[in-house]
């Protein structure tokens, strides 16, 4: 029997991914560590402020984790929520677990505590990079109904690897925000197919914005996480320069594209509309050699480095 990651709560995700009986939470709900800012606005608080942090193991390897609960304020980051994640990451710098796991489901900064939330997201970004610089891989999983947006969309790309499901969405400004500011002609947030072609898992995979795409099951996420742990950490100037080249090529090649379909066509997909119908295995097989990453690396030595390490065959 498969368990949907998308439909699970943050607690169910962590329970489903960790080895049995290895879950240990820091600052659990019993500690009643709630947001100090929501009461003034007559908003109800959560005893864990919408995020669970702690330690456990996956395939016998010690991991530290944070899991955001989309059901509480859309997983938005406030002062306490952010500080729990930062505390966990800084502890990883000290204790060196095999990896840090971030199960992200968030719209970004919690507007009710906007300034505290923005600073917290910045602190999370720096703490992610500190963990990586200390040699601890930071692995992000995205597959919940709220996706991963706002400042946390930036933070997620500061991590070592991103695992996404087809249902997962990753971006900076959400479709509703852009529609509100620029109008429905710019971005129709109710056009689900358009949103999916812009920020959806398959598009992100083809673009090289995530490392692995998985079907929506706990087991698939778990297998991908294990592969990412085994890949280790590559925080280096050389890796950054490869990324710089890749991002520069992307703007050049796709900068005038109007729609995700135009990009996919450019990548060699004769029938871009067929992509939506493919199941995950079929899609990954068809995507061999038709991802922006593959083409850009085709005639450089980076191919070996990346090819060997890429866990996308899961």
């Amino acid at each position: 029997m498969t368990h949907s990651y998308y439909e699970s709560s943050a607690r169910a995700r962590i329970a489903g991914l960790l080895d049995a009986d290895s879950f240990h939470e820091w600052l659990p709900a019993a500690d009643r560590l709630t947001s100090p800012h929501l009461a003034a606005l007559e908003q109800s608080a959560a005893f864990d402020d919408g995020v669970i942090v702690g330690r456990g193991s996956i395939a016998g390897k010690q991991v530290f984790f944070a899991a955001q609960e989309g059901g509480f304020m859309g997983g938005a980051v406030g002062e306490v929520h952010g500080a729990k994640i930062v505390g966990m990451l800084e502890r990883a710098v000290r204790d060196h677990p095999a990896a840090v796991l971030l199960l992200l489901e968030t719209g970004g900064v919690r507007l009710q505590e906007a300034n505290a939330g923005l600073i917290a997201v910045s602190e999370v970004m720096r703490a992610i990079l500190s963990a990586r610089a200390a040699g601890v891989p930071v692995i992000v999983a995205i597959g919940g109904q709220y996706g991963c947006f706002g400042g946390m969309g930036i933070a997620s790309r500061c991590a070592s690897a991103i695992i996404i499901s087809e249902e997962g969405r990753l971006g900076l400004s959400g479709p509703e925000v852009i529609e509100t500011v620029r109008g429905v002609e710019e971005y129709d947030s109710r056009d689900r197919a358009l949103v999916w072609r812009t920020v959806g898992g398959k598009h992100r995979y083809l673009l090289g914005e995530c490392d692995t795409i998985v079907p929506d099951s706990m087991e698939a996420f778990q297998r991908a996480i294990i592969a990412c742990i085994n890949n280790g950490e590559d925080w280096s100037l050389e890796a950054l320069e490869r990324e710089h080249q890749l991002l520069g090529d992307r703007v050049q090649r796709f900068g005038s594209c109007k729609d995700g379909r135009d990009i996919w066509r450019e990548l060699g997909w004769a029938d871009p509309d067929a992509i939506a119908m493919m199941d995950n295995d079929e899609f990954i097989a068809a995507a061999q050699g038709r991802r922006a990453k593959d083409l850009e690396c085709a005639d450089s030595s980076a191919l070996e480095k990346r090819g060997d390490k890429s866990p996308h065959s899961i």
Partner: protein, 233 residues
Amino acid sequence: MEWKKVVEKLFPTGHEVHQEGDLLSGEGRCGKHTVAVIGTTNHTEVGVELALAMAAAVLAVIHNHPGRPIVFLVDTSGQRLRHRDEMLGLNGYMAHLAKCVEMARRRGHPIISLVYEQALSGGFLANGMMADVCAALPEAEIRVMGLAAMARVTRISEERLTQLSISSPVFAPGAKNYLLMGGLDVLWEGDLSACLKDALEHVDANDHRRVLGLERGGRLLADVVVNRVSASA
């Protein structure tokens, strides 16, 4: 304040800072230091091209001038709100810029940022907020969202938000609020050149913002929570 005026005040003994589109780049002299200058102007929105151009400037400093301090001049109305930039993965470009800044820091480049006009959310996270010392001019505008828009989104009346913002720095825009919360290290007034010199002498590569927030009384729980996680079993 106009960027040219800012640069003249920062580097009275000389600078070569140029504007290309909305990007500022070049170098200036401050006492015994030559510093690299990277910034934006015109309250620009940061899209994929601009984020990439800033990242290129950071990588160039790492290559050509190991250890040279980097000063970010911040003026942005936020991330570019376009379908096209989202489709291309603007969050990835912003993160790339942030990673380049972190790489520079870890290779010994002191990182200073000065918000001289505006700083808004996404456009601020990837450069200004990555600095060792984050400063602002007192009249600078720093925010996530204006109160009117915040009222619409949160469904809390603007009157109520305005009233609450008198006693709480947590959601209302303004450099002073960011100072209280530790998001800004310092406000620069008067002799900007002396301010920069002082900042360069007090660079701390560790993230100390939550401690500042606690000391200044604007963000009381962040440091406590981090320490409690650290001390947990």
